[in-house]
Symmetry: C2
Subunit: 96 residues, 2 copies
Amino acid sequence: MIGIIATLKVAEGKNAEFEAIFTDLAAQVKANEPGCVAYQLTKSRTDPQTYKVLELYADQAALAAHGQTEYFKAAQPKMGPCMGGRPEIEVLDGVG
Amino acid sequence: MIGIIATLKVAEGKNAEFEAIFTDLAAQVKANEPGCVAYQLTKSRTDPQTYKVLELYADQAALAAHGQTEYFKAAQPKMGPCMGGRPEIEVLDGVG
């Protein structure tokens, strides 16, 4: 298992637009990627502009496949104008 | 959905013992908690003493129930001597 914590900073005033784009992306991930075990957008309780995506992939191949999907690629330029900073991506190795 | 990122610092020399205790706990969570959607131990790629647990619960009731299980309570004193610092628990609200 491989875990990802993606920390995303959203520009003020762009929350609703960002959430709509990401929710659509997540629905496509769930529908098409059996190797993606979890892909959940969450929102900080202390900073309204900070979101964290909790992601779990069965293996490295599943993670690589995720980044190559057409819908993932198509979502990037849509989300770009909603961002308030560069994303931080932490990759973690599953244990057990 | 509610997300949790639990950051755990493990004392040097205690990694194997900690991983065994946690793996046993995770197996019981998966077997007994339908409201716990994900409960995955992961390990940092940059700090061998840092672990992060990625957790997803269907709702607040599922999260509360998790903390009240006998196996969760029983695991705490077993893990205590393996820890190298206080855990950090971040609670996040699911979106979408």
